[in-house]
Point group: C2
Chain length 524, copies 2
């Protein structure tokens, strides 16, 4: 057992892995996050299990692949009997709390079928993705659905911001020349400052709430999932973050005429989405990306504030720190907006972990290029805290060896990610039924292969073509490689952890024991 | 809507598809079951989803493949939120009751996690596989675990049979020359009559109980799952059934020296099991099989009694009748005992369905060779009763077209079955971990292919070699066929119904609707 008692699990939403100073971005300023990287390990090949908020998060929270936990998209309820982070960590004595976004949807039908009372302690937890909801806020509150009594709205009004939904009118809108509200939902306003003071932004507020939880818990061990909505759209930042960066600070877009001329059918359908059409215009990138970067630097400032607070509280020495994101953001690369598909801009995630234990000293500041998946976090937490990282429901593996500068024998040689685009216009464009809109990505040390239902595959050579500009999905010389990767996906699909109610250990103890139990078959 | 209001769903345990007169057995007498076949449709290529009681039954009861419902073996709990037959049928107004065996194990851990009270009505049902337990009896009661207050034990004592466990000492044992109890657990006693009168046997008792439930429900619509333990071992029949058949009545064993000399590694390991070693001896077959056949004829007599009762109750005209089994029994064929593997003797099941509706008149007495799976039953029941046979959890398809003599457009061209032998000595012999002991069978119109984890496949040409004597799993000329069948299994594995909490219909309604909900991404 090391010195870790607490876990601060920070997630951003839609933060691209490459949009941090420590991950090689040429212009962005993220000094506090870079400082985390110097104190810990930076994973350069970490992938989310599905490049969409809901399913990606359910993989983080359950430790299982998308088609294992079954919540394939935003707002798809998680089955009532899927275990989540808290189910693993509470038995180890931690309070497991949430501040921010989970995108969890409760399985109301499943609860009703079981006659479950979600006012009981167990029911309340199961209804909140297994977290104590210190501050639950899924982050998007369009006027037509926003709650006036949303905690953040109440807070903003207490600070003097008016209206039913200051989340929109103050934190995610700018002021026009005549004082009119210019909505952040419209990207042409992204260069303007939000109508909220930086001290009252969503990022600031959630950081405040995280500190309040940490202070309130004192010496009780905890996991705090601090889950920022930003830099997710609406792309709107408070001053001065709206104006920190200019078009000249942007790396060039990763896109080519060839990509646009002959796209893969599914990619081509996604290129027809509004967000892709918008980000295909340089004007949009140049208006939005500086603000996207500003929102990241704003988060960075609050990470600095949070670290100072942890130090004051005496928690730096006994708290494991995780900094990550649920997925990336195309931001116009490959002529795409948003996420969902599997290019590095979308499927790769930032992941920095700081283990305060002296055993981790030799690895501080190192980078790790092992193929890592978001579902490795729960096993990591369990191993750090002395639990069982090999629980029969968990499909990942503990990262602790990497945190301690050791090698991990037999580490996976491929990472997987999944897509179900049933909910997107691309499906209608492609005339697929809701059950026919899936894809699986496998990423090995050198190759990325995407197997689509009903369409040809994609193949990229990430050694020769890290920008993924050359799709080898039809290249005759790679036919046997594609067959091999397809077989790897098949093997993976057949060996998911779906036998959840009995562990291998129990099976091993029961093997060939019928006779001892008096069940005497086959006896003459 | 047809005339069906009730469903009598009769299952035998370990009844081979070929051990019925109407299925071509040369000597057995099953006149009442044959009469059902004349009134309904006999399915000649019906397969169970796993040739082991527990997982096969959970597939019948959930309408899902073994690795979808996750209960891979006997006594593996079914996840608390898997739906079962009653969840689909109760909303249609049926009482859904059980008399006999389910082999269901409750997910106690899952229930505890949710804080579920299984004394509530919903909890009680979920704890009993969704059935009202009019008489639950899983059928095997070794002395060391038997309950004195088991209903059948109480009943037997009331009839004058003595002891704590007359299930064993009376119903499943014979009397020796000096009055000693000769246990039915030992197959050498199989030729002797059970110490129970035929009026008090398990089969007789469960039939009595079924009739009591039907009488008690009167005109309330019902599904009754009458689930006999026989002809499952202990192979012990009451007089006169113990002596109806002799060795001369047995078909020859389906086994060859070649099979024994060079078995597939997994089959070879199963051949080392006690039951296989025993049944490899002609003496054992000749002692056991006549009694096995007698137990089937005993069931047949009670099917006749039950049909007369239904007629008296006026229920023949509004009750759908299903007669099937959870799997077969090798009985020494292929040098194997028991079941689990995929030869026709094990994986194929008898299936006869009688639809009383006049729409079914043209199909009466017909045989159907479509590839049918046990998970087709729930969709059939739903269609017959006017429910939704395409519920997103259900992996089967309604058989109603076949019952009405129609063709079913686009019917499946392959059936699947699964094996997890983690619990068996074969795994230890083969030195596999509990997660490495799986296989999947695909059966097409012509071929049967079995894909094993860690071992070569098996392939049989069922047109040329219906007895499955010639394993083409290594035949060079079939390499591309094997690759094709392996790809079919991969496709099947990737497209299991695991997105359980949202239907395709809801997805279709929600597709591309973010804008209507005020979520305005990608807008300039």
């Amino acid at each position: 057992m090391g010195s870790v008692r607490n876990i601060l699990f920070v997630m951003c939403d839609q933060l691209r892995a490459d949009t941090l100073g420590c991950m090689g971005h040429p212009t962005i300023k993220t000094p506090y996050i870079d400082a985390l990287a110097r104190r810990g390990v930076r994973f350069t090949r970490a992938y989310c299990q599905a490049p969409v908020c809901g399913p990606s998060r359910m993989s983080f929270y359950t430790g299982r692949y998308m088609t294992s936990h079954g919540a394939h998209y935003n707002d798809v309820p998680l089955r009532a009997d899927e275990w989540t982070m808290g189910d693993y960590l509470r038995p180890l004595g931690l309070r497991v709390g949430l501040v921010g976004k989970t995108h969890f949807a409760m399985d109301r039908e499943g609860f009703a079928r079981l006659g479950l009372d979600h006012q009981t302690p167990a029911g309340k937890l199961a209804a909140e993705c297994g977290f104590e909801g210190w501050e639950r806020d899924d982050g998007l509150h369009p006027d037509q659905a926003a709650r006036r009594d949303l905690a953040y709205n109440v807070y903003l009004r207490a600070q003097g911001y008016e209206g039913d939904n200051p989340w929109h009118s103050a934190a995610n809108s700018a002021a026009g020349p005549n004082g009119e509200v210019l909505s952040g939902w419209e990207m042409r306003h992204a260069n303007l400052p939000a109508r909220v003071d930086k001290a009252h932004s969503e990022t600031a507020y959630m950081t405040d709430r995280a500190m309040a939880m940490i202070a309130a818990l004192g010496d009780t061990p905890w996991l705090l999932h601090l889950s920022y909505i930003k830099p997710h759209w609406p792309y709107m930042a408070p001053a001065p973050y709206h104006a920190l960066y200019q078009a000249a600070d942007l790396p060039p877009a990763n896109r080519s005429d060839a990509e646009r001329a002959a796209p893969h059918p599914v990619v081509g359908a996604f290129m027809q989405h509004d967000e892709s059409q918008a980000f295909a215009r340089d004007e949009v990138r140049e208006r939005v990306l500086p603000t996207y970067m500003g929102l990241v630097t704003e988060i960075d400032d609050h990470i600095g504030r949070l670290m100072r607070f942890l130090e004051q509280q005496g928690r730096l020495g006994d708290t494991l720190l995780v900094f990550t994101s649920d997925h990336g953001d195309y931001l116009g690369d490959h002529w795409l907006g948003e996420k969902e598909l599997f290019h590095e801009e979308s499927a790769r995630i930032p992941l920095i972990i700081v283990d305060p234990d002296p055993a981790a000293d030799s690895a501080r500041g190192s980078e790790c290029d092992a193929l890592v998946e978001s579902l490795d976090l729960i096993p990591t937490f369990l191993e750090v805290l002395g639990g069982n990282p090999e629980h029969q429901r968990l499909e990942g593996r503990s990262l602790l060896p990497f945190l301690h500068g050791a090698s991990a024998a037999g580490w996976r040689d491929a990472a997987f990610s999944e897509l179900d685009y049933a909910w997107r216009r691309a499906r209608l464009i492609l005339e697929r039924t809701p059950s026919e809109a899936r894809a699986v990505m496998i990423r090995t040390a050198r190759w990325k292969y995407v197997s689509y239902d009903g369409f040809p595959p994609q193949l990229f050579d990430l050694e020769a073509d890290l920008l993924e500009q050359q799709d080898l999905g039809q290249a005759p010389e790679h036919a046997s490689l594609r067959a091999e990767l397809e077989a790897r996906i098949a093997d993976w699909a057949r060996h998911r952890k779906l036998r959840l109610t009995m562990s291998d250990d129990i099976i091993a103890r029961r093997t060939d024991t019928a006779r001892q139990r008096g069940i005497l078959f086959g006896q003459w």
